[in-house]
């Protein structure tokens, strides 16, 4: 496997009235295509910051993030948005679906923005993705009409709308019951099979699922990076 994603000496700090807070401290990290990675750590360890660096949602204070030969720090906001839409699918802890659009429309909106899927194929693709995550019967419902698990499936389907090679999930099962969480993990496994890279930030017991690699953060440092299989 080639180096697909590379963090070089990435630091992130925040200035506040209380002084400087270092969220990430000179992290080096490489991820290969097709890996299934769990990122764990206590609250405040830097997990979400790492995720924000990885998705281009935030910029490092120092260091570089390179994904598939693209230096994220060299992209402006518009380029980043377009790159992100095409290359990264994000699944948020609280789903973050657009509440005023139906589930199907949430997917179509993501495709409209990025414009990589040809227009005539979009609706069909959205329906296929919803079927893939098992909620095709809820396609025309507003997010509020769905259960938490269904909303998270919809969020995963939306993350896959533009067929990105990388899927990043921030505690995707943190608000779900165990059986729904299992189903979501199964979905991720299916995605891995199709060659996608999946990075999951989690609080849960990683031994329950078939992660390839475990990265543990503490006080902004990677204190453990081990292969699980």
């Amino acid at each position: 496997m080639s180096h697909y994603l590379q963090f070089k000496q990435v630091s992130k700090w925040f200035e506040s009235a209380a002084g400087r807070f270092d969220a990430l401290k000179a992290i080096d990290l490489t991820i290969k295509q097709g890996e299934y990675i769990a990122v764990v750590g206590k609250s405040g360890s830097g997990k979400s910051t790492l995720l924000n660096m990885l998705t281009g949602i935030d910029h490092p204070s120092q260091g570089t993030v390179t994904i598939n030969d693209t230096d994220l720090h060299q992209l402006n906001e518009t380029q980043l948005a377009q790159w992100r839409g095409a290359n990264i699918g994000i699944v948020f802890q609280f789903f973050q679906l657009v509440p005023t659009l139906t589930v199907l429309e949430n997917l179509l909106l993501a495709m409209d923005f990025v414009n990589v899927i040809p227009k005539p194929q979009r609706r069909q693709r959205a329906q296929t993705l919803l079927a893939q995550v098992g909620i095709s019967e809820h396609a025309d419902k507003l997010p509020a009409a769905l259960s938490g698990g269904q909303q998270q499936r919809a969020a995963i389907a939306r993350a896959l709308a533009n067929d990105p090679p990388i899927l990043v999930a921030d505690e995707p099962t943190g608000n779900l019951d165990s059986s729904t969480a299992e189903a979501i993990q199964c979905l991720f496994a299916q995605l891995l099979a199709s060659g996608k890279t999946v990075i999951v930030v989690t609080h849960e017991d990683v031994s329950r699922y078939e992660y390839h690699r475990l990265i543990t953060l503490h006080d902004g440092l990677i204190i453990e990076d081990k292969a699980l299989i």
Binding site: D58, E77, R84, I90, L101
Partner: protein, 785 residues
Amino acid sequence: MNIKLKKIINDLCSYPGRSLLVIAALVIGLWGIGSILVSYAILKNDLTDNFTQTKPLHVAVVSEDFDRLDLQEFRHRPEIESAEFRDLSFERIEVYPNVWLPLFLYGVEDFTHFNLAKFYHQAGDRVPSQGTLLIERNGQNITQLEVGSVARLQTSAAQILEVPIAGLSFDPAQAPSTMDHLIYGYVDKQTYTHITGKPTNRRLIFRLNNVTTKQDVQTKTQSLLDDFKTIGIRIKKINLSEVDEHPHQFQLNSLLFLQGGIGLLALLMGMVLVSQLINAMLAQQGRQIGILKAIGASQQQILRMYLLMALTLGIVASVIAVPLAIISGYGFALFVAKQLNFEILTTVLPMENYVYLIAAGLLLPVFAALPALIKGTTQPVANALNDYGVVLEKKSMVSKKRSFPYLISLVINNTLRRKIRLVVTLVTMALGVAIFSTGFNVRESLYMSLNEVNDSMKFDMLLTLKEPTDLEQALLPFKSLDNIADIQALSGGHGVIQTQHVATTSETTIIALPYDTDLVKLEVLQGRWLQASDKLEMVVNHKVLETFDDPVIGNDYFLEIDQQLVKVKLVGVVKQWALPTIYMDKTQYDKLINPKHQVTNLMFIAKDQSFGQVIKLNEAIEQAIEQSTLAVASVNSQAGYLKIIYDHLNIILSLLTFLAFLVLLVSALGMASAMSINIMERTREIGILRAIGATPQMIHRLFVSEGMLMSGVSIVFGLLLAWPVSIMVAAFFGNLILEFPLNFAYSGSGLLITVLVTLVFAWLASRLPATQAVRLSTRQALAYE
């Protein structure tokens, strides 16, 4: 449907209350601006068009020698556009029993074909048969006379004539009867002579070719007058008019200026209001913008989407506001037209006005939203995703001093959280308060100025005789009247100050009165009032200054009175809202000009000066005149004189008050929107407060207190701002209409009304969003994103 468009529509429909508030704000703003634009488009041309379509005269010349003039030949002179004899005599007409008003009676050559100074048929006969009269339609508002009734006229020979009213005319070139308190009548030449006892063809009116200014008129008229002189035509009186400018154009100009000013203010405040509300909508969209960016939307895509939202709001608001603006704009123009007695000629609004209205409707929300949108869409994704409303970034002013109870500290700290928004709200509200208060202050200033006018003329009635009359004869009819404390007689006549414009300058009224009279105490603007002197002195009112090319105090002038030239020293200028008038000492005047001590005016002082008794005295004087042989030009009460001034200003002040109220209303809406945003941004905080034990009533009280605090500060700033603004506005209107600034007065009742209305508005503006806020359950408030 396009997904982005659907999202916009769904977003707007998700919070119908807020969307409706934005649309309402837009509708109010557009309606106000649109009404002003529409009425402006109509009014700016229609009064002038009404006036110019009558082919108004440029010059009126009175002479006893026009028998020597060949009118046909005169009409063919290159500088003459048109000319005819239109005689004019000042008579009196009884408008109600024992209530008489001046009658401007015109002897008309041909009612079917006008060379100039055209007027229109309105009702009844187009051409009055011999012995009958047409009256101008606006006069109907101040008389019970109507077509078919018989008018009683009092002639120069002190006779009472009964003349049937054959019809109504519409003469848009005349100042409105309702404002100038006089009636215009039109008769044929024979009837003119019958009523007035005067020969006809003594007043020549004409229009000149290629003139654009009064100066042009003056120059061309001068050469005509020189020619008249060579053929032996002696000019008795001459009047020059402003070229194609209606006598009350100044009022319309004031209205349009006022409309323009308030319209601009309404536009700015509307922008602020819409901007605040769109900010409120976007405040809630902060996280969504983050999500959209996270799933790949670029800044431009998001910007376009939300601009489309603003545009959608603009379209909806325009659909409602534009027709309303057209209806109310026409309505207002009709109101003004009725006040100034002209017809609305603009039946189809020029196309560009529709373009302006629609452009304003569409662009107003877009421009208003743009700063907030740019700010919202340029926010980094991470910040947008973590946007949970306001945070207190710095230590608050109040926390340093802990001298307030914690609830008041909370109110003050909350109010200070969004400083820019607070400043915008305070400025908007303070402006509203200032403008509203100014409306009252200017009104009060007018009342005060009128009171000063009243104090300067201490008599109750002023009788003006047609001709100088012996004192005994003049007093005789009134000797037996009750309720008369004193009658003082004045002398006078008409004269012309010899300046370089002598040939074309109108005659001016001369009033000769005892220099030390207590009954006339006019405010001296320059120099001094009359005093005992061996030399003949004069004091003029400020109107004389402009008529006679600014004569200089201290200089001697030759005054032509009854073809006699006397040297008079100008010693002072007084403030007076009246026609040009010269004041001289009666003793000096009688010695040189009036050796027979004849009188021209009588000033009556009532014993009982209550309004009702003065009106009764007026009626008694009129009855006495009717039974006498005294030829009277007019009988005016001071109250009537003040009413004429008041009527000239009232239309403008009414509009000012109404528009000021609208401005306050818009500013209150601005405050409501600011409160709405504040509350919405703090929905989670409300949840927290409730979770720790705050009751909905306490939260309600907290927000209402914040609103009242803001309004209190606004009132203070607004009232302070109102002071200089009121002084400027009072000076502006005074100078424009009365030609001297109104004396500034602060209205106590206006202050009270302003404070009360503002507090009520502020209470409503904070109560409504606060009520909305406490409707959410604690769980809903805590889960609010």
